[in-house]
Amino acid sequence: MSFVDVSNTGTVDQLRRGYGFVSSSVTREFNVKYKTSVLGALWAVLNPMALVFIYTIVFTHLMKARLPGVSDVFGYGIYLCAGILCWSCFSEVVSRGQNIFIENANIIKKLSFPKLCLPVVVGAGAVISFVVLLGVIIVFALMSGFSLGFELLFIVPVLLLQLLLSLSIALFLGVLNVFIRDVGQLTGVVLQFWFWLTPIVYPVSILPPEIRTLVDLNPLTAIVSSYQNMFLYSRAPDWGSLLPVALITLLFMFVALSFYKRNSTDMVDSL
């Protein structure tokens, strides 16, 4: 048994319901993730930190990697942190988002509610993890004697752009996954490649030219570079390189939303 409210109420009420649902879902998710375990919110940090730790050890100590123009031993660590901060948020949205409609089939089939709230919940959840990790990185940087500039505030527009991009991809994949379940498996594989085609672990400068063009075509490259600029060099993002990304994001948004709109009824019927 379940319930529906199909009141012909105005958009304000729709928004209120949407807001209420998103906020309580996020709280609920946060609770289930962190309140049910002993270490709680630490887990939001431990996973990416383990990644940063492993790469730092492997690259700075075993492979003697140095960043051009940064002599600091911790420089590479910060570089990695910036990239992973961006990537973990992006991949969380995409990998969770592609499954969001299947995961919530239960309520979609029984409730009338704005279904677009579901990817928004994923986005909001990822932002929470992002903020926690950001805090840890700032503490880590300050402790290692790194100076961070006010340019860090540019994180807000860059994060927003990144969220719109990842949510558009997630929405498209989420709808597609309902009809063709291979999408779930495929996303995992593609994300692996995507990670290594983004300059997170390595700087773009070390790449041979033919691979470099490929990496430059990756919209995430400009976004990750913005984070690295802000953290490592206290530089504002290169807005010029973000402009094409913004255009691509708009295109993706349009495609994803129209795809969703065209298939949303079939989606409910197929779930």
Binding site: S2, V6, S7, D13, T36
Partner: protein, 416 residues
């Protein structure tokens, strides 16, 4: 003005021959690779404010799809649905609940989805807890709940605020008898306060007790609508139709509608109610002996014949029914042209009112197996009470009473 108006609703599901065909049509919106299965075909009806309507039909008739369209969970392929006011729907089994969260947390989540604010849920919480009667479980994860508890919680939440239109799909048949009764009471109460009801149920009694009108769906079409008892008679006949029987409904002299159906191998040719002296009656005194005499003609040879009758009250509720199988008097090996006269004798120990008699001639105990001939309202009779003291209800119990004054010591029966 109509409260709910459904106009020419059609619903088609797309059937794809393969996953590749589906992928192709997803990627190229213009390409049509699917075939279409029509589950609702041109459904139109209106429900006025305060009316209660039951939807009946065999599984797969399209009832649930129709309710999902009306509740805006899925969309129709064509047609129009107009709903006014606050709607609450209780659809199917299964919850929208998250197993890892407590009942209370789930109430907030789902409550907000059905359009309540946190403040409203805070305010309603005590009454929801109270009505669901799940006690301290409210603060336990929902996965520890029994299915009945989940249903109780869901029902309590969905009906915490009286809606203008309540849509109920089979929800009355879940939970234990106690809660069923309780939820049914709440629905009645809503109805009395003016809530419009739309109910899907296989429970004949529930539909008859609560609905002003019934709609019978079959194969995605409305095949009959009108007074619940008439539509339900048609529905019962439809259940037997799987053997290609003829169903017909005709209007009797008194304006009521009679449903007959059957394969026709055996025909019920006449029926009368007789009093003790053997004369035909249609008004009977409470408690007096009567006989129901039924004449049957075998049109074709049949292996076995069971004749049954069912007395129904004016609301269509069954009062008493039995057949010759259960009475251990079946007739075997009938030849074409054989005639039989069945005589059922019983005292009319039923309360005053109008009753109808339905008859069925079938092969086995149930008319669903092989239904030769079945007549609803084959006979109407009235029961009057001029001899005995006036009593209420359909059952005449032979009540003896005595009264004595007791002292305080043995006053309490429960402790005895």
């Amino acid at each position: 003005m109509s409260f709910l108006s459904v106009k020419n609703i059609c619903k088609e599901y797309k059937i794809y021959p393969s996953k590749w065909a589906r992928l192709k049509s997803l990627m190229f919106p213009g390409v049509k690779t699917h075939s279409v299965k029509r589950v609702l075909d041109d459904i139109s009806f209106e429900i006025s404010p305060g009316e209660s309507v039951g939807i009946v039909g065999i599984n797969g008739a399209g009832k649930s799809t129709l309710l999902k369209i009306i509740s805006n969970i899925t969309n129709q392929t064509s047609g129009e649905v107009v709903v006014e006011g606050r709607v609450a729907a209780l659809l199917e089994l299964g919850m929208g609940f998250h197993p890892d969260f407590t009942g209370r947390a789930n109430l907030y989540m789902s409550g907000q989805l059905i359009g309540l604010s946190r403040g409203e849920i805070d305010r309603l919480m005590p009454s929801i807890e109270d009505f669901s009667e799940i006690g301290s479980y409210i603060d336990q994860p929902v996965r520890t709940y029994s299915s009945g508890m989940q249903v109780r919680l869901a029902f309590s939440l969905a009906t915490a605020v009286r809606p203008d239109l309540l849509i109920v799909d089979e929800a009355l048949s879940v939970g234990d008898a106690y809660f069923q009764h309780k939820s049914f009471e709440r629905i009645r109460e809503f109805r009395a306060k003016g809530t419009t009801l739309l109910i899907v149920s296989h429970n004949r009694a529930a539909i008859q007790a609560i609905c002003d009108r019934a709609i019978l769906l079959s194969g995605g079409k409305i095949v009959s609508q009108g007074k619940p008892d008439i539509v339900l008679d048609f529905y019962s006949a439809l259940l037997a139709e799987r053997q290609q029987e003829l169903i017909s409904q005709r209007t009797l002299a008194d304006g009521s509608i009679q449903t007959t159906s059957g394969t026709g191998e055996v025909e019920i040719s006449s029926v009368v109610l007789q009093n003790e002296s053997g004369s035909r009656v249609d008004v009977v005194e409470v408690g007096t002996p009567v006989s129901l005499v039924v004449d049957v003609l075998a049109v074709q040879p049949v292996s076995r014949l069971v004749l049954g009758f069912l007395i129904k009250d004016s609301l269509g509720q069954p009062v008493y029914g039995i057949n010759t199988h259960r009475l251990d008097k079946p007739v075997d090996d009938l030849c074409a042209g054989d005639r039989y006269r069945f005589r059922f004798e019983f005292p009319a120990s039923i309360g005053k009112g109008n009753y109808s008699v339905s008859l069925s001639a079938s092969r086995l105990d149930s008319h669903l197996d092989k239904n030769y001939h079945w007549i609803d309202r084959a006979l109407i009779f009235s029961v009057i009470n001029t001899r005995l003291c006036d009593f209420v209800g359909v059952a005449m119990l032979d009540v003896d009473s005595s009264v004595e004054k007791v002292s305080a010591i043995d006053a309490s029966l429960s402790e005895a």
